[in-house]
């Protein structure tokens, strides 16, 4: 059992939790993830590790409420436990050695997944630009955390309610147009966002790494559910990734695979909503 030590709501449907997982906390590196199963009936879902504290024996996760499992997770509170938690999975991010110039782009909940890279790069004395994007002001994540470590922070919102108006890809294009040539761009966010960013940086020949979060079951290379075509080769995200060269990923295939269980996800979520309502009535 993995106890929830802290819980914070970062935005209307985005939560941050600090969970006790001593063995994982000792080993976790930027870019790695865990898989959790909430209870006996639960499915296994991957979540990126935002931060870890080996001394306290805790890891921090950030998640957005999307389906049944994340909805249920959001109802757990400090003192509650997650039944199963395993990791750290995947390979750590390969960050440039020594001082470098890196632009980190985060969209939606992916912003949180990018935080460990920004923190690590800052420790190495790199010049880090963080571009974080959200639909609207109240969904902008972890601004204070990023301010601490980013050399430059650019915030943008789709509706212009905070920071610049526009998409992260617009901001990145502006920087590249102005002649900036970072050693590396790291992008984490929705597949569509990463696809657009990849198209932008390809034009300028800037190396770009993205972190994928596809459907997976075991996370150790056993099921192959998370397979993705990279540069014409089949890779398993869990053991070969989760980070890949954005210019080589077959995004269309990945998006279609991601949608395979949409109907089932809906059924599961509606059933859960029913149960919550029933529970509420009984209490009333």
């Amino acid at each position: 059992m993995f106890e929830i030590k802290k819980k914070e709501q970062l935005a209307p449907i985005i939560y941050q939790m600090e969970v006790s997982a001593p063995r994982v906390a000792k080993k976790a590196l930027p870019g790695q993830f865990i898989i959790i199963r909430i209870d006996e009936y639960g499915e296994r879902i991957p979540l990126t590790i935002k931060d870890s504290d080996p001394e306290k024996g805790t890891i921090t996760i950030v998640f957005q409420v999307v389906g049944k499992t994340t909805t249920q997770l959001s109802t757990l509170n400090v003192g509650d436990s997650i039944l199963d938690l395993v990791g750290p999975l995947g390979n750590p991010t390969e960050l440039p050695e020594g001082k470098s110039n890196v632009i980190c782009v985060g969209g939606g909940v992916g912003t949180a997944c990018m935080y460990p890279q920004v923190k690590e790069l800052s420790k190495r004395g790199s010049y880090v630009t963080a571009i974080i994007g959200a639909r609207t002001k109240e969904l902008v994540l972890l601004e204070e955390d990023f301010r601490k470590y980013a050399s430059r922070l650019i915030i943008c919102t789709d509706d212009g309610s905070y920071g610049e108006k526009g998409f992260v890809s617009d901001v990145l294009r502006r920087l590249l147009d102005a002649g900036e040539r970072p050693d590396l761009v790291i992008a984490i966010g929705p597949l569509m966002m990463m696809k657009v960013l990849a198209d932008v940086t390809r034009e300028y020949g800037v190396k770009t790494m993205i972190s994928l979060n596809p459907i997976m079951v075991d996370g150790t290379g056993m099921c192959g559910g998370c397979r993705v075509t990279v540069g014409g080769e089949v890779k398993f995200t869990c053991v070969d990734g989760p980070e890949f060269d954005a210019h080589k990923v077959d995004f269309n295939e990945l998006m279609m695979r991601q949608r395979y269980y949409l109907d089932e996800e809906k059924v599961s979520k509606e059933k859960h909503a029913c149960k919550l309502q029933l529970g509420g009535n009984q209490n009333a």
Binding site: V234, D250, Y260
Partner: protein, 468 residues
Amino acid sequence: MLEKKTKMPEQPPEERICNFDEVAQGYTEEQAILEASRCLQCKKPACVEGCPVGINIPAFIAKIKERDYKSAIDIIKERNNLPAICGRVCPQETQCEEMCVMGRRYEPVAIGRLERFASDWELKHQPEKVKPSVEKNGTKIAVIGSGPAGLTAAADLAKMGYDVTIFEAFHTPGGVLVYGIPEFRMPKDIVKKEVEYVQNLGVKIETNVIVGKTVTIDDLREEGFKAFFLSTGAGLPVFLRIPGENLAGVYSANEFLTRVNLMKAYRFPEYDTPIKVGKRVAVVGGGNVAMDAARVAKRLGAEEVMIIYRRSEVEMPARHEEIEHAKEEGIKFFLLTDPIEVLGNDKLQVRGLRCIKNKLGEPDMKGRRRPVPIPGSEFEIEIDNLIVAIGTTPNPVITKTTPGLEVQVWGGIVTKDDSGLTSIDDVWAGGDIVSGAATVISAMGAGKKAAKAIDQYIKQKINVQNER
């Protein structure tokens, strides 16, 4: 003399394709006694030589005949820690039963069914557990992986007094017994009870620990473990490497079966993990795993399920019994056929499979005749799902992170002797990680040998220390 084996009651095919309950339902007492009376009680029993763990087969059968079931199971458990599992999934026809003298003229004694009867009797009649009175020696041993090899090694070492911890990557112990073999062939309650038996011997099981990721062998040495047994199985799926294999709706047998068996997707939405099975499902492969996947697909409502195998039925590696069960359940067999391309629709989901016909050519290194494609024989079938069950290879997670551990080209761990000693002097390995995908009982045999060797190694080490 009864010439044929006493039949075991089975769920009729038309009924069982609608549920996940066990197909073979086990002998009644009367049936067991009848079958036990067929044993000739040979002075030099050949059957025992055929058993990888050397169970005293005539002795336990004699006890069943005397209705002394308690003694029967005790005799089995002297050599086999997981009899309810072996009684169900061992290929007895190529082991003990193949050697049975009765088999020369008639059908051999149904040793597997009798083993299952005795162990089921115990599980049913002895709920209260007697703690074994073994003196603990306090020496810590780590077993990596809780499948058949790991459970066996752990149980044997615990019986010798060692302080054993099993590390399991999944959330439930049992390895292939829980993620691979379906409920209707290997009920998960039975696995759970067998695991509990091992725990009752004093073995600790830590789930959710991936050795190589969560901890390394070096970390465990620092935690005080004195010897290691690696039994992580052959968990990596092999794909066909044909166009269209990443279309949505193509599963590895590992993914398909793990979703259904371990995650209980067959009870979705009561359980959260989904599985999607369309009207027409093709399974590529000819082993037990292919049969399992096909029969699961049938139970999940597929109207037409096809096995696609590149050789003929004679070369199929699956047990005869599994092939028969599949046929009874209406699974169709496309033999001498190889898939060459998975076809997709505009949503990039599977809609069909392009295949080619084969003929049999010269025998390969294993003596099985090689399939040779017949030019111009290509044809297409309509399918909604493809399940790839053409084998598995060892998972590299542990071998990659353990410096000094020698590995074969195909990923299996190199062992120096029959006990499974590896290139590192306190590390043993056994089961599928050494042999490649094989049987439950051969993995258990490897676990037993390693346990014995680990015991000798520890004792020798202590002696050396004492002499100093």
